[in-house]
Symmetry: D2
Subunit: 361 residues, 4 copies
């Protein structure tokens, strides 16, 4: 049972509210004797942090992470790693006018109904700010996996659909993704996407997105059948990200439309290597990794904090309306890319360690 | 950590292989003093059991469940409920010819790679036969929830897409679903679906499906933020079902294409009741139930056991080909309807009990 | 969270009541490819089973265990192992007269207060009959450990105090323990113990006992610091056995009276071997195994089902008195020896697998 | 699975090393809407903190706790409560001379063997400094329970044996305990104890202790049978405290010597109240609280850091000897009193919340 903990073997517990003094996380179960490079953790955090381009919220946070425990002379010791990020650019007064109102499509209503109390400032615990902690945890998982599995291991995510605009997935380009502010994988559509998003922003509106995350070099055999399936945990991981409403593994929802012949990825052996003709399975068969690329995609709904006047109610049960000003992402999906990557690292390391316990491999 | 256990508060552990002497499950955490109606458990199992129509596998199992513990004078006692279903119509020799070969798209390969050993007969532990145990557990969860929440609580699932054929979701009809062998919700498409499926069956092929499950009467406040979100656990539950490759909550993957205005479900108050103008959220906001209908859909890929000759490898690492004869479902998605319903009951009861512990409500 | 599950990696879930149709357990997390010898499981069960000597209850149960899943061609497959033991010699009418009364010192009262319902027949779920399932699970853990660690691994338990009678612990003799019905380790006291116990039995009274369990060949490094300490889990394991009221690790409660000089076990190195001058620590330092013999002892209180008239109340809140006839152990501590051994095996295997996940060793 | 987390419903995760920048903990599962009094948390911490009398270590830590999350306008919100305590008076150079040597009776050896790396400064993660985090968590559990149960709820602990010196338990005096630096419950022995302890300190030696913790006002029905017994979790809790080697519930190890007649606590009803004639059970029957006072005692072994020259080995596997200078408690058992109280609060709140989920009470 774990309201604020993710993972079973490589576990991280996050804490903190958007407008509290700090946020952070505690990692438990990190293998010992792994050299940690703090700069590389910061690089991952920087990919997620707000205020970097005109396409995301203008809240300025340097999201500088400090490690408070769990390392000695630069290496992990097997004891819990506590990380902290202080909050800086909070404008709590921005939220005074929505203090008693519930934004439609937002967790405001359900939090209040559940707990009878909530820190409304900046979304409090519901804020996407919590995801900075995940990115920090994922950055450590990444370093552990790179040490254990080696350089063939990598994870990369991209935005494959921005609102109503798609892209040509065959044009996926790792380098291009790394060098544009929208994590767009297809050179030919970027300009259009940028225009579209600026339009949305200017209108005070918002749009959704689809993010795809790919993991390469994952060994065969990760995942436990029935209720610890790798795809189950990946779906769970991605669905835990704020605003995510759907998750696909490989062909995902589309696999309903395939025939048995189209869907089953034919296999062949070439020396010591098992080859697959296609990858509808997204690298997972029966909940266990097959050695193919693991492919997960997920949909992020549009931000609910928008300028348009919307009907809603307040905490006193009265009808009212709301229009949200302040600093918001026109598309939270964009900043979800490094979060999806982080969750992928964490799930894979979790299952890697689980497999050690299960099969000794 | 729970390879074969699902749930945190209302937990069930399943065991058993397709061609072993029996399968079963143990429920832990069932509230005491609930009158159990065994006939109603059997009714749910009958919805899932094979051999009932020409549209499913011809394996004949009466799937008769026996309760071995946890009740006294017809009521639950709060102690573990052990249920057993004996296997009857096994034809293990049907599987001799695929004993050493891996069906493409099937867990044969990954199980063998992971464990170095597997019971190949009927798919062993990978078999969808395991899901009978879930349906039994779900049937108990249902009775508990009907007692606790009352008659306004109900769950109903349907097939909303059969292979390449869709249906008009606006025509959803509970009674119609209950009375056709395909759990089709739309009267106007059933005949076409039947013809289509018989064609697939005759060809020895298979198709996928999309299943939608709706829960009504679920109180507001179920689900814990961040890593015990209700939608996270629902995604996890559905993804744990054999052959499921994608999960949507409410508008799901489609929400990527909506604008903030379209997506956020406006709210209003009428007396003591909170009303929502739409339900893109699928009844879940920030991981917590809003009191609206909870809507989950998931895609089931086509059965991998098909007649067509497919390239594959065997356990000795040699290239070969395979053509699967024997008794198989042309669309496993159909029998996934009662399984999806069962998982919905289990997740809701789980979160209902969790909420008691969290908030005392 | 696990009301009826023990363990984290090698987990077993028990179910069943004393007078229900059967009892059993499901093991999850057993490593694959281990050859299981069912005869050896039965041998362990026979050590615990009632009706074997005049010193234990006369209920006749053959406690024959059947394996229903999780093995294939004699080997474990990594899937859940379900075991069942049918109940046979139940005399439920024996319990009619205590149906509404609470035995002082027994769980009758608290079960009823907690659940508002209980199966009073034979103690229902509170019955020591549940421990048969643990012994079956422990017997499997034992076989796994013997395979993994090798023949140097062994666990042996004994009764070191029977009511008011002690023994000379220096005279501990493995073979003698295995060949007397009281698991007495000291040849010189057995006769006296037997006389004493027969006297207690004749009087319809009961006595307590102290059991000591020793594990040899346990590798250094098992146990995780702080909240997964090996001694913490051993204390937990032993305290979970019916009627246990105290647990010691090594010198245990006595260590309070030692000086720092007496208590700390001096170390020396001889070639590749680390030697300890004494073993006050009971083989565990800082929650982690040191490679020394692991020594746990625990106290079992006297059976509360006694002939003497005792004041008590009934379920209607009325004062009354009770005198328990029927078949009871004069000293439940004796049959706790194989249970303690079983729990030791389970905890050690659990931590062995945990260590794989933590440190890859 | 939880190396550094304690509890199932009210869970706290601790982190930090003795000589790192800070230590802390994250509480998950704290009920919402509880007013927290930070001064009262500090009072509990002050009871444990070092350097307060000549009887404990002279390390000077003000152990000032800060709350970083989980509260809003002075009340808990149901989100994780993160607390931090900065380390101040570290003298890492004190430890240089034992950097490569293992103190006999200490976790130095096993940590190194397990992880291959350890922060030796001040014991690193093995340090009793970790227990400050527990005391902070316990102080919050206490405030929650006082709010939920009311003023009749209280927990008090005392040292009942100091090395070879006992006391008269019948003279237990709550107020006296609160006002002497040794938490001695018996006025008549305090002077002797003080003299004895100063002698031990002067000699550079150390002694053990027995601590008894009593909880009053605990409702009947807490604890889940079989593997979530209240006494099992209490044993586990106390055994998790550094240097604890034995745990008793009620009569504990002594119950082995009682007859069935002596041991079973007779019951009677007086109006709505159930009375017990004695309390050998320590308030727990069948793992469930009976409404009586809950009594747990545990033994703390003598500090292993002593002045006397002791034989040992170093991390290179060479024989050597060690004599530990620096600031150490002559009896760590004394400061274990507030820790035992804190663990009692945490376990009771944990089971209180569990019972809500189980039985809705």
């Amino acid at each position: 049972m774990s309201f604020n903990t993710f993972g079973k073997f490589f576990r991280f517990t996050t804490w903190g509210e958007s407008h509290g003094p700090a946020i952070g996380c505690v990692i438990d179960g990190c293998p010992p004797n792994i050299k940690l490079n703090i700069k590389d953790i910061q690089i991952e955090l920087n990919k997620r942090k707000p205020g970097q381009s005109k396409f995301t919220t203008q809240r300025k946070e340097d999201d500088k992470v400090e490690i408070l425990s769990g390392t000695f002379e630069g290496k992990t010791t097997g004891t819990p790693i506590s990380m902290i990020i202080f909050n800086k650019d909070m404008r709590s007064k921005d939220y005074k006018n929505i203090k008693d109102k519930f934004r439609p499509g937002h967790a405001d209503y359900t939090y209040f109904k559940k707990y009878g109390i909530r820190d409304y400032r900046g979304g409090g615990r519901q804020s996407a700010r919590e995801t900075a902690s995940r990115v920090a945890a994922g950055a450590i998982a990444k370093q552990v996996l790179e040490k254990i599995i080696g350089k063939k291991y990598s994870v990369i995510g991209a935005v494959t659909q921005l609102g109503i605009l798609g892209c040509d997935i065959e044009k996926w380009n790792d380098k291009f993704i790394a060098n544009n502010p929208l994590f767009c994988p297809d050179k030919t559509v970027l300009k259009l996407w940028e225009k579209y998003l600026l339009g949305i922003r200017k209108a005070g509106s918002s749009c959704g997105a689809i993010i795809e995350v790919r993991a390469r070099g994952v060994p065969v055999g990760l995942g436990a059948p029935i209720y610890s399936k790798l795809d189950m945990d990946l779906a769970s991981a991605m669905m835990s990200i704020n605003a995510v409403k759907g998750v696909n593994i490989g062909s995902g929802m589309n696999s309903a439309q395939l025939s048995g012949e189209q869907n089953s990825d034919e296999m062949s052996q070439k020396g010591k290597k098992t080859k697959f003709k296609s990858n509808n399975a997204g690298g997972i068969l029966g909940g266990i990794s097959s050695g193919q690329e693991i492919i997960v995609s997920f949909a992020v709904k549009p931000t609910s904090s928008i300028l348009s006047q919307r009907k809603t109610i307040n905490k006193f049960g009265k009808n009212t309306s709301i229009s949200v000003t302040g600093r918001h992402d026109p598309c939270v999906g964009i900043r979800a890319v490094p979060i999806g990557e982080a969750m992928m690292h964490c799930v894979i390391l979790d299952h890697y360690l689980m497999n050690k316990a299960q099969c000794g491999n």
